[in-house]
């Protein structure tokens, strides 16, 4: 069974530039999560999708971050414009159903904002 796929693996940009991350969850998983993990900290939930609808985005900085999951399968997270404090690993995870506590994570995208 293929795992959660994320790309790119690494990204280096300058502040005020824009960047996009892509995630393809495990086939058949209805729920998709984007987490931000700053060095030395645990993952912080940015947005949770159930199919193509948003379950929670209370911690997403909506003035600069956006995410979509148009067909209920893969998802894109965008930052525009990026700030220095956005430097982090962006993790995508999926689960079979919303009440399933078992999350499967991708390897993440490491973003450096200079």
């Amino acid at each position: 069974e293929a795992g959660v796929a994320q790309s790119p693996r690494y990204k280096i940009i300058e502040k005020r530039q824009s960047v996009a991350f892509w995630c393809n969850p495990i086939s058949g998983h209805a729920t998709l999560y984007w987490y931000q993990q700053i060095l030395g900290q645990g993952p912080k939930l940015l947005i949770q999708f159930q199919n193509n609808g948003v379950v929670d985005d209370s911690q997403l900085p909506k003035d600069r971050f956006s995410a979509e999951r148009l067909k209920g399968v893969d998802s894109t997270l965008k930052i525009q414009p990026a700030k220095l404090e956005d430097s982090a690993v962006y993790l995508c995870a999926s689960s079979l159903i919303p009440t399933n506590e078992k999350l499967f994570f991708g390897s993440g995208t490491q973003l450096s904002v200079l």
Partner: protein, 113 residues
């Protein structure tokens, strides 16, 4: 304020030693999960504890869920270098409707050969 507080934040020990890490909250959880994350990778689920007072064993790892379902611990017996990693607890508070998983800050464990 973190919903889930983990301690200690860092732990550096020698191979063969025992250790315990803690995950505490003032909220009640329907379940708690423990993940291990290695450098450059995403977290991988180790176990889910569901019942208050429950104890689960996974080889040398013992997980316990507090009676009040507000805390959990992970005990490792005879640690090995392969146990090195970031240990994260996660859960969604009871009665929230949707399952929205929140993570603690993690315990970074280094086991020296």
């Amino acid at each position: 304020t973190q919903l889930l507080e983990q301690s200690p934040q860092f732990l550096s020990i020698q191979e063969g030693e025992n250790l315990t890490v803690y995950c505490n909250s003032s909220s009640v959880f329907s379940s708690l999960q423990w993940y291990r994350q290695e450098p450059g990778e995403g977290p991988v689920l180790l176990v889910t504890v569901v019942t208050g007072g429950e104890v689960k064993k996974l080889k040398r790892l013992t997980f316990q869920f507090g009676d009040a379902r507000k805390d959990s611990s992970l005990h490792i017996t005879a640690a090995q270098p392969g146990d090195t990693g970031l240990y994260l607890c996660a859960g969604s508070p009871w009665g929230g409707g949707s399952y929205i998983p929140t993570f603690g800050r993690g315990t970074s464990l280094i086991v020296h050969p």
